[in-house]
Symmetry: C2
Subunit: 348 residues, 2 copies
């Protein structure tokens, strides 16, 4: 399935299907004088003799989140420059969300910007590959350095998902869960039913496509995150802090963040989300819900105060439900938020 | 004098006059929750008790070109993040072209982009402050990493020029000379006459303003450098190599590059630029023209081959005159170009 973006200009396609990488890629590479491949080492190890054997001399980069730091980023950037990359070159980034974030950021700043295509290889990346955000991490938090920079295409070859370890499936599913909630109570119900026993990747494609469409719709309304795009951060404020401190995969942290967001919505906006149902579902599927009981709320607060979505001192911008179907950005006083998080710890 | 850009959107003003910094700045800073100042240490040393005394706790950065590297850049970026910079903060960058390039680049990527204002303090920066290009240097050459990112304003307080050392005046004047050539033979004649004895900064403002207007006109036609903007690189192809290797100020290298461009135009396009007049003028005012006699052409070729404007292997894209008033981009075979440069060495 091909989904097209609908920006004012610089639109691109998101190709989603099994076993499409090489064919789709060929429809693009011919337009460029040279093509450079940046590939996550874990992905390359698995597929170098098969699916990726057509690629000659790729830049194999350190796996996952460890690539999202200045030092490995600059190493790869200097390698590209040493190999003679030009403005009319193409960079193809093959890997999960982290590889896409950092690879896209490289493309955005090398020679002040060259074209790139992202080939997501994880379930989680169905989220990060959409929306044109690139980023790396700072000493002070995740994704604090980056650019808005759109790829020329996203080629999402679902075959890559077959080799995902369980914990990566859980992580990616966190964003599938979030997108279903953002889409509608109906879709969310469908998803929970389809996965009530286990999260089977082969059943997910329709929900992945719905997730991409949901995200795209929101991103198109608000590319630079001045309004509704903020809603995509449902669960993310606490998630970034949990993830940074406790080193759990992003989407798993998002799941915990969603619990917090629902709890806060119930407390501050009087919604009636059934917390036990969400917690039960997540525990059953192996999410580390216990971290919510053990977290250091003081440290979580410190980290959340660095979130780039905040715009007032002593307040944290939190995405909460106003009612069952409507989201809002609520500036919550830090002292109040810490009190609520402490209560949540007791509640788990 | 205020010059306004005329892009489709995101326009900004370039304020040019003496003693305007504080007043003009105040018309902007009120719109932001917090303001961060990045100031070149040399500028701050001179003006901290006078013109810049109103600025509390600035980030004072290493002077000039030495700031345009990843390590000092990241240091300043982490300082901004540590101080709690937010998306609705403003960064004010006070310094010459290098400080503006790197400071603007920081603004473009911190939190994926915050607003900034550039306050150029050198004559050279009348050039780099216009056009929305930001950059830092790579191990492989100058300005190879960066972004297209427009400031919210440029406040060019000409009082800063009073404290410029002679070699900086010569450097900045290289771009004034280039812009006059790009504007018209008439303006160029006026400039040469006004400066025939010496380059007196107090006489330059009309030529600076003309230079800004000339550059702006070209940039507006072609922001992302796919066409006519390339002409602004007149003299720059060799200049970047000379500057990188022989560590002379940018604009002085541009002057040498202009001689090379005129020589190549005469050789390849049959123009009849009077090289001796240009060389005589430059020598008389103290430009290091002898470097053209002493340069290592092999090394110059190596460096020029890394220029990001090149788009074909074994060819260098060179800006030359097609006739006395018309410029063109000429792809010159590397072997041929080296031969011409060797002949130029003999000719000096």
């Amino acid at each position: 399935m091909d989904i097209s973006t609908a920006y004012k200009d610089n639109n691109y396609k998101i190709h989603v299907a099994r076993d499409i990488l090489r064919d789709r890629l060929e429809t693009y590479t011919g337009r460029y004088e040279s093509v450079y491949y940046i590939i996550d080492e874990n992905v390359y190890d698995i597929y170098k003799e098969t699916k990726l054997s057509f690629i000659k001399s790729p830049l194999v980069v350190t796996g996952g989140e460890s690539f999202k730091y200045v030092s490995p980023l600059m190493h790869t950037m200097e390698e590209l420059l040493a190999s003679g990359i030009k403005r009319n070159s193409l960079i193809v980034v093959i890997g999960g969300g982290a590889t896409g974030d950092a690879g896209g950021f490289i493309a955005s700043i090398v020679l002040r910007g060259v074209d790139y295509i992202h080939v997501p290889t994880t379930l989680l990346a169905h989220d990060s590959a959409i929306g044109g955000k690139t980023a790396i991490n700072s000493e002070h938090g995740k994704n604090l350095i980056g650019a808005f920079y759109r790829p020329k295409a996203v080629i999402y070859d679902l075959e890559f998902l077959d080799s995902l370890p369980e914990s990566e499936v859980l992580s990616g599913f966190g964003e599938v869960y979030k997108h279903a909630m953002l889409n509608s109570p109906g879709l969310f119900e469908e998803l929970v039913q389809a996965t009530s026993d286990s999260i089977d990747v082969s059943m997910l494609p329709p929900f992945i496509i719905k997730g991409i469409e949901t995200k795209m719709k929101i991103v198109l309304e608000d590319e630079h995150e001045s309004g509704s795009r903020k809603f995509l951060n449902l669960g993310h404020t606490l998630a970034h802090a949990v993830e940074y401190k406790y080193k759990i995969p992003h989407g798993q942290a998002v799941m915990l963040g969603i619990i917090a967001a629902l709890y806060i919505s119930n407390e501050l906006n009087g919604t009636d989300f059934n917390l036990d149902e969400h917690i039960g579902y997540m525990s059953r599927h192996g999410y580390p819900v216990n971290l919510l009981r053990e977290m250091d709320t003081g440290e979580m607060m410190q980290l959340m105060m660095k979130d780039k979505k905040n715009h007032r001192n002593d307040y944290i911008s939190y995405i909460v439900f106003k009612d069952k179907q409507t989201l809002e950005v609520k500036d919550i006083n830090t002292a109040n938020l810490e009190k609520i998080l402490k209560a949540l710890k007791e509640r788990i």
